[in-house]
Subunit: 218 residues, 2 copies
């Protein structure tokens, strides 16, 4: 989800930035449930019990607020999913940790309404403008992270050399999206297991004899 | 997408019903682009250059309009995807025709904004109420149609007896959803081919030696 993932601890932010961060955390949560288009300065002011003018001091317009919310969601996603996986072992274990971290995130353990980006994708996919572009950029970055991790698993000789990394990233993405939908809309209790079985089966079908076995989380 | 798909031709509708049908065709198109939540009587009146009171005569409230739009989209989906597939040969050819018809529909050949139901699913998955329930019911029906067609392909001995039909329906659903997203948001030109390759690979992995070969559309 990030172009350059920072691994060093950032300096402690000043109070104004901390306030902005806390506001954006609520904005991302709200947008994950009600949609990014419904995220107006007025709606957010209601939710935070703040004045609209107080919020206008942080964000000059609805579009500024939407763009800042997308950027904040990217940061949270990187903290929750990407950085822990990159800090762990390379190859198939990292690929699996990216997938599983992402599923856990999409299962609503981070944002109230589940996957912020999947919801925003569908909301903005027939629109145009900077908000759509920022969502598409975040998604492309995440697909690149997944694709690179497949390529790296090939270099580690955990996956066969003829594996199409982009096709695999597309399949994994689709399965996670399907699980999100099945869980959120259809309330299918099996969806969490189903999607992990499907992804693990795809990995196994591409694995070499040198591939470490994946331990499935409960 | 339908509980009981009618195969007999319906009697020609009266003028009031035809007007209602034409209005709903526009409503479905509009909702596929701008979202179902944005579909108000006022917005639709603008689009149709009709008076709001004229529309109120057909739909008493925004919720009535949304529910009628979901029902209309179900009918169009059944006409475009389900009925032609059920009229063709059983087994894997029917399964493939359902998948391919659905992909063609989601690729924007029916509704302006692509797949009406996928967009509506994401819009309403964190909400509650009758509109969400009607979307979830349509989706469950469509999953049942897919699952039944896998079961029937097993009976025809085109697919192995140990195939998990629900798991397969989930995977196909996910892949089509991923292709929709990849095409609509990321403008990925390869997505149409990618999803057909993935689904065909899944079918091939489950096929028996008696399975007729699938002819891929261009």
């Amino acid at each position: 989800m990030l172009g350059a993932v920072q691994t060093k601890a950032a300096p402690r932010p000043r109070k104004g930035e901390r306030t902005r961060e806390s506001i954006l955390r609520v904005a991302v949560d709200l947008a994950s449930v009600e949609g990014l288009e419904g995220l107006t300065i007025g709606r957010l002011a209601d939710e935070l019990k703040m004045s609209k003018s107080g919020l206008f001091a942080h964000f000059g317009s609805k579009e500024d607020l939407q763009l800042a919310t997308v950027a904040a969601a990217r940061e949270i996603f990187a903290d929750y999913v990407i950085r822990p996986a990159l800090a762990g072992p390379a190859g198939v274990p990292r690929l699996w940790n990216l997938c599983d971290g992402w599923l856990r995130y999409a299962e609503g353990r981070v944002f109230k309404g589940g996957c912020f980006f999947t919801a925003a994708s569908y909301e903005f996919d027939s629109r145009s403008g900077p908000v759509r572009e920022s969502i598409a950029a975040a998604m492309k970055e995440w697909m690149k992270v997944l694709t690179r991790s497949v390529e790296s698993a090939k270099k580690e000789k955990h996956l066969r050399a003829d594996v199409d990394a982009e096709q695999f990233a597309f399949e994994v993405y689709s399965l996670a999206m399907g699980a999100h939908w099945s869980h959120q809309l259809l309330d299918d209790k099996k969806s969490r297991t189903r999607v992990r079985q499907s992804i693990a089966a795809r990995i196994r079908a591409m694995a070499t004899s040198e591939c470490p076995s994946i331990k499935f989380p409960a």
